[in-house]
Symmetry: C2
Subunit: 313 residues, 2 copies
């Protein structure tokens, strides 16, 4: 267990309120006067979650998007946000504000408040956002899956991870992939429509493999993932191929901000109809059964798990 996992475990001991959902979900659910509020707080740190030379406008977008992705996974409509901002060079700060304005407008999100601090010179920027949303229906947790559920994922997987490598110059430059890395699109509309159809839902932020493992664990079930069913984009395939290695790389890359959800097999037709309606593909990538653990298989049968399933906290 990493010390971060131990820290979160210790925090869990303090989070006894049912609204905290045992800190297992990425968001809290608070009932206020008959309204179900969904609350999340995500931070991004320079050198860890974004690169020093990423455009500040895109960093602002990403800060908003990663938080709204948590709301999307709980079927919530965004209401407002509080910003925790570390000041740096004026020019960077001005560009950040411009990007923040674009993101707020794009998502219809109200900036409600927050705090700015000036950290000691040379300290990496640490930015936080609290997003508040309202659930219009059920608020699915990641622990609600049932044995026999099929596992689905929205959109395509791996693009953002490949985009990060392209931005770093590790692979050939590919603008569409870099854009997926810098400007993730939280699946808000899909999340709100899916909330009443699924048994469990979360967003894919740390990697499909590790996030599916968490969903299965939180639900007390075993997950089987069909590697060949993982949706890869044409851009991803052009950059990294689609063989087993390329698929495992995509599945462990993280930063996808797609929705991962489970539903009984009889919901499949409705889910595919919804995907059509939204113009966003939903792919069946596996199933959940009694037991525990994660199995990955392809045409050769079960295959060994990679050492790294995703971003490990």
């Amino acid at each position: 267990m990493t010390s971060e996992a131990a820290f979160i475990e210790a925090l869990r001991g303090l989070a006894s309120d049912p609204a905290a959902r045992g800190l297992i979900d990425d968001a809290a659910m608070l009932e206020v006067g008959g309204t179900r509020l969904v609350l999340t707080h995500d931070m991004i740190v320079e050198g860890i979650h974004f690169l020093r030379d990423d455009p500040p406008e895109d960093v602002a977008w990403k800060l908003v998007a990663v938080n709204l992705s948590d709301l999307a996974a709980k079927g919530a409509r965004p209401i407002g946000a509080l910003l925790g901002y570390s000041l740096g060079e004026d020019e960077w700060d001005r560009a950040f504000i411009s990007g923040l304005g674009s993101a707020l407008q794009a998502f219809g999100l109200a900036l409600l408040g927050g705090d700015t601090v000036r950290p000691p010179l040379g300290a990496p920027r640490s930015l936080g956002l609290t997003a508040i949303g309202e659930a219009t229906g059920p608020v699915p947790s990641r622990g609600g899956a049932r044995a026999g559920d099929l596992v689905w994922v929205s959109g395509s997987i791996g693009d953002s991870g490949a985009g990060l490598r392209a931005a770093r110059g590790e692979i050939e430059r590919a603008e569409a992939l870099i854009e997926r890395y810098r400007l993730p699109r939280p699946r808000l509309e899909a999340g709100q429509a899916l909330a009443s159809m699924v048994n469990a839902m979360m967003d894919v932020s740390d990697g499909l493999l590790i996030d599916l493992q968490r969903l299965a664990q939180a639900s007390g079930l075993a997950a089987t993932l069909e590697l060949d069913a993982i949706p890869l984009s044409a851009d991803y395939i052009a950059a990294l191929g689609e063989d087993r290695d390329a698929r495992l790389t995509a599945a462990a890359a993280g930063d996808d901000y797609e929705l991962l959800f489970s539903a009984p097999p009889e919901k499949a037709a409705d889910l595919l109809a919804l995907a059509d309606e939204l113009g966003l593909p939903f792919s069946r990538i596996g199933r959940l059964d009694s037991g525990a653990g994660l199995i990955v298989s392809d045409s050769a049968g079960n295959i060994p798990l990679p050492d790294r399933l995703g971003y490990q906290h």
Copy 2:
């Protein structure tokens, strides 16, 4: 204007939702299903808001207390909090959790969620907390004062600033003052009782002078402060005296987390009765009139303002 002030001014341009209160208050007010939620997010940074060798338990307390002080100033009862945490050495982190647990328990605050990040090695810690409260009555802003109001402050002023100097070894060690610096007590009970009696209220976090100036400015009024009426504790007087210099130092020190409020003169008896009931002194320290600006006077008449009115953003 500092670049932080310019940044906040630019943010203000994005915060058009009425719930944001123009980012003039330290907290946002969001109506949800007939309930008035008060939301605040404050950050504390190592080397700026706390010292590297402050006990981690006390840093946790302070992070909670500074946020709850914002809720107190809006008359809100705390409900829950989201934590944004930068991991460091395991031992420090463990001690922080222990202090966090004490603070949550002391204030009846539920830990609802949050995020942990591991910043690059050697980066100063940056900690954030979002606190959510519920207002049981009116939610006073800092801009609601009226001409003729008397200005009041709770408790005593300057202790925390003197405590910081004592902790740094700049003045003689005084445990009671250091405790005021490390373990501030948000005036939650007083804030809730005062909310329906005052025209304007805020907490004193950056310094009495600068915060009174802000209250006057937000209300479109001129403030007059009677320096000799500023409440100093016996510990403060023992450490730094009570002459004009000592009083100006206290009034510009900050980190007091007392309540600063204004009310019509005819409320004075009720306010003093409430102070008695709470066992927390309220002191009349000045008044608000038509006009603009800040005047400080003592027995010698109006005196020049110090160069520094408090912690300047």
